[in-house]
């Protein structure tokens, strides 16, 4: 007992009475804090193993069927993935600053940092939403939801775009340069049909689409940008997407993609909920040098969620 009390030092020295957040079965606030932190680390270990199953599935299918990944990753939007990586990294920084603010008792800064972290989470999920809608719209879905006819249509378009690009150099500015500002509004239009074409699209391309697929696949064409603008400089890359030379069981790639990113997304949403919760309970200078456990352990959780994405992004999008 006395051993523990001498350790407290930096903590609750200011008050001899128990801190309001101290439970009865702990001798000191420090002991309670360390237990909470150890508990969180254990929980994170379970999270790693939880995701580990999916990573394991990824590696096994990658090793046995590399063609699925070779083919499938072209359908993912590298720009969006990269932006999301940056968004999450920034949120990790703000979270770390938030933890620092909680430790020093700077409630104002803590609240600001929690809010920024929360908004980064929103940004991540927003971009994810556009990515998912594009995949859904093109039929790139998991398991038996994978829609071969839609995918076929989309791929023909993509090939046509590529062919067009090879002839029309000016088109590069449409597909290549301002990837983000063009793509985001275009993705929204996916559900609004052909009414909103990217304005810069060459008229010939538009015509070609109209005669190829009729109205209903029109919204999709902005995805020429989605899937290929990332293959920077290499329009020929688009040619790698075979229209009918799809590897068998290609849906498995999208199964893995969706399950991994969706499970990660769920964790992001949970993390955002925790940010909001901390934001609302952090009033009245509740957190300070003697008690900041919830902020600290939420921070640990958030960094892990970030870290998992750092692995997911290159594995799914880049290689």
């Amino acid at each position: 007992m006395s051993e523990h009390e001498t350790q407290t030092g930096h903590g609750d020295g200011h008050a001899h009475a128990h801190h309001p957040s101290q439970s009865h079965h702990w001798d000191t606030m420090r002991q309670q804090f360390e237990a909470g932190k150890l508990g969180m680390w254990l929980f994170l270990a379970t999270e790693i193993l939880f995701f580990g199953g999916l990573f394991c599935a990824y590696f096994i299918y990658r090793a046995n069927h590399p063609e699925l990944f070779e083919y499938g990753h072209h359908a993912l939007n590298k720009e969006m993935g990269a932006i999301n990586t940056v968004v999450l990294l920034v949120s990790s920084l703000t979270m770390a600053l938030g933890v620092r603010a909680a430790q020093t008792g700077n409630t104002k800064q803590l609240k600001l940092m929690l809010l920024v972290t929360f908004l980064c989470g929103c940004g991540f999920m927003g971009i994810k939403y556009f990515e998912y809608s594009a995949k859904i719209n093109h039929g790139y879905l998991l398991g038996s939801m994978f829609n071969y006819s839609k995918v076929k249509d989309h791929e023909r378009e993509a090939r046509d775009h590529a062919a067009e690009n090879a002839h029309a150099a000016h088109a590069e500015s449409v597909f290549g340069a301002p990837a983000v500002p063009v793509v985001v509004p275009a993705e929204k239009s996916v559900f609004v049909d052909a009414a909103r074409q990217p304005s810069g699209l060459a008229p010939e391309v538009r015509e070609m689409h109209a005669e190829d697929h009729g109205a209903d696949s029109h919204g999709a064409d902005s995805h020429g940008a989605d899937s290929h603008s990332g293959d920077s400089g290499g329009h020929s890359e688009a040619g790698l997407l075979p229209v009918d030379g799809r590897p068998p069981n290609i849906h498995i790639f999208f199964s893995i993609y969706f399950m991994m990113t969706a499970l990660h997304g769920i964790h992001v949403v949970i993390g955002m909920g925790l940010m909001l919760w901390l934001f609302f309970i952090s009033g009245d200078n509740r957190f300070g040098p003697s008690y900041f456990t919830p902020v600290e352990v939420t921070g640990l959780y958030w960094h892990l969620v970030d870290l998992i994405w750092i692995f997911l992004f290159p594995l799914l999008y880049l290689i």
Partner: protein, 569 residues
């Protein structure tokens, strides 16, 4: 080291007044439903686990009755006219429910969550587990998981076996998903219990309670908790993948959609083999306590027993492939897994020999817990040694999926894990309830269980070695005599457990009051009153050598033992 110890005569003075303990600390339904007291949570778990044991046991009796004779015996009665289910389907459902209930609802939470919750913090000298709210949460997750299982029963049952092997589990029309959701939830209950125990042991050891002063049960529980935390999440993701496979055909586990059914087996056994050690390690911890206390002698090779628990936990993660010797695994992998499997026998044998050496020269008393402890050693030895036949590649090809496997894992799971749990239950019953049970009835019940168990399952070794496949509803007439003997054994066990239920219930309502220390033990839980007070320890207890029995004296006046160094408070 010793905190100020005053008032050694206090227990005698307090005894006539109504003693204050955790059971009468507060009253009413909510005082239990919302309790954060680890002892009450342990009791609630115990009630749940024992109820599920009765449920799972009922299905076992149905199975054995069906196998009394070849052809349809009783399953046909449950076939609905005009329904699609045959008697065989009903039988498949029975063994699935029996296995899943016994594994996920009874044995896995049995020792850690029920007995461990009650005993672990007191043994450690702590006031509670590290995260009491999480502990209550784990209990409610367990309840939710149990509800899903019961839901499964009402939705027509599930017939995929407790292992849920694909591709069948992905295509059967029975209620696989509720069962999977139930197991998923139970998994999280188990993870949270494990986390709680690890943090409790790391951070709530009172000063003086060093790692190597901890009772061996705590070492067993610690090793178990590590497995619970590291293995269970893999089961969770596997079941999630299987749910996705069933609903969306994601193509990971079913060949029809490009998946690999053997991958499921790898994923499943990566959890479920360590899970075998989740079941057995805490029971081994209990037996280490029982053998020492009831032989009144320090455990032989304390550190070896402690480290062997950790070694089993580590080896447990590296042997899952021995479930797939006949599942197209490469010969090289088979050889490696076989070799590692054999190495598990080293720490297991260390334990068995140390228990025997502990008894050597001790003053052995054949109390009821000791009978269970001795049964454990006997049955575990048979279970362990028959495991060698299954770990050997050449013999496994013959024994795989026969009754030999059934007999082997029942010797380990029931004969060891459950018998250990019942040993612990009898050991700590006076502490938990403050009452003594009827020793004579308890011995009769033990005899029924022990003899019945061997009659039931030893015969199955013979059945299996002659080629009777497991999970079969029907069999050739030449197996009939063995099946009949096995069924008779199962009825004997049922009688034994029924008697146990009777005298345990009777002890609660009319049993003799238990002294604080009826067995002459020296671990901390025996130094507080029976039942323990709400806060376990008003003042931090003196931590001394918990296996030093020299200061423990029998006091005929109270019918129990007193400790000179640490008098009861």
């Amino acid at each position: 080291m010793n905190p100020p110890e005053t008032g050694t005569a206090a227990p005698v003075a307090e005894a006539p007044a109504v003693p204050h303990h955790y059971l009468n600390h507060s009253k009413g339904f909510l005082s239990w439903a919302l309790t954060l007291d680890h002892k009450r949570i342990g009791i609630m778990y115990l009630i749940g686990v024992l109820s599920c044991f009765a449920l799972g046991g009922m299905f076992a009796l149905l199975l054995r009755t069906e196998l009394w004779a070849p052809g349809d015996t009783i399953a046909g009665i449950f076939v609905k006219k005009g329904g699609t289910k045959t008697a065989q389907d009903i039988y498949n459902m029975w063994f699935t429910v029996h296995g899943a209930v016994m594994v996920f609802l009874v044995i896995i939470p049995g020792v850690p969550a029920a007995l461990g919750n009650f005993v672990l913090p007191i043994m450690l000298g702590a006031k509670d587990v590290a995260f009491p709210r999480l502990n209550l949460g784990s209990f409610y997750l367990w309840c939710l998981g149990a509800i899903f299982f019961i839901l499964t029963l009402f939705m027509g049952g599930v017939d995929a076996g407790w292992t849920f092997y694909t591709p069948y589990s992905a295509i059967t029309s029975t209620a696989v998903i509720p069962a999977l959701v139930g197991v998923f939830i139970l998994g999280f209950s188990s993870i949270f219990t494990g986390m709680n125990f690890i943090v409790t042991i790391h951070k709530l050891r009172p000063p003086g309670m060093t790692w190597f002063r901890m009772p061996l049960f705590l070492w067993g529980s610690y090793a178990t908790a590590v497995i619970q935390v590291l293995a269970t999440p893999v089961l969770a993701i596997t079941l999630l993948l299987l749910i996705m496979e069933r609903t969306l055909h994601v193509g990971i586990f079913t060949p029809e959609y490009g998946g690999d059914p053997v991958l499921f087996q790898h994923f499943f056994w990566f959890y479920s083999h360590p899970a075998v050690y989740i079941m057995i390690l805490p029971a081994m911890g209990i037996v280490s306590e029982i053998i020492s206390v009831h032989s009144h002698k320090r455990p032989f090779g304390y550190q070896f027993i402690a480290y062997s628990s950790v070694a089993i936990a580590i080896f447990g993660f590296l042997v899952w492939g021995h479930h797939m010797f006949t599942s197209t695994q490469s010969p090289a992998m088979n050889a490696i897994f076989s070799a590692i499997t054999f190495s598990v026998s080293i720490p297991s044998a260390i334990k068995v020999f140390n228990w025997l050496a502990t008894m050597w020269g001790g003053s052995i008393r054949l109390t009821v817990p000791m009978l269970y402890g001795l049964s454990f050693i006997f049955l575990f030895s048979i279970g362990g040694l028959t495991g060698l036949y299954l770990g050997t590649l050449s013999t496994d090809v013959h024994f795989h999926d026969t009754y030999f496997v059934v007999a082997h894992f029942h010797y380990v799971m029931m004969g060891s894990a459950l018998i250990g749990m019942f040993g612990g239950l009898h050991h700590w019953w006076p502490k938990m309830t403050g009452r003594l049970y009827n020793g004579k009835l308890a011995r009769i019940a033990w005899a029924f269980v022990f003899v019945g168990f061997n009659v039931t399952f030893f015969t199955q070794f013979l059945l299996g070695s002659q080629g009777m496949p497991r999970r079969y509803y029907d069999y050739l007439p030449r197996y009939e005599i063995y099946h009949k003997i096995s069924t008779i054994g199962s009825y004997m066990m049922a009688v034994g457990f029924a008697i146990m239920g009777v005298y345990l219930l009777q002890s609660i309502f009319g049993g003799k009051k238990a002294p604080a220390n009826p067995w002459g033990a020296n671990t901390l839980e025996w130094h507080c009153t029976s039942p323990p007070p709400h806060d376990n320890f008003k003042t931090p207890p003196a931590i001394e050598d918990c296996y030093d029995y020299s200061g423990i004296d029998y006091d005929p006046a109270i019918g129990g033992y007193t400790s000179r160094a640490n008098p009861p408070k």
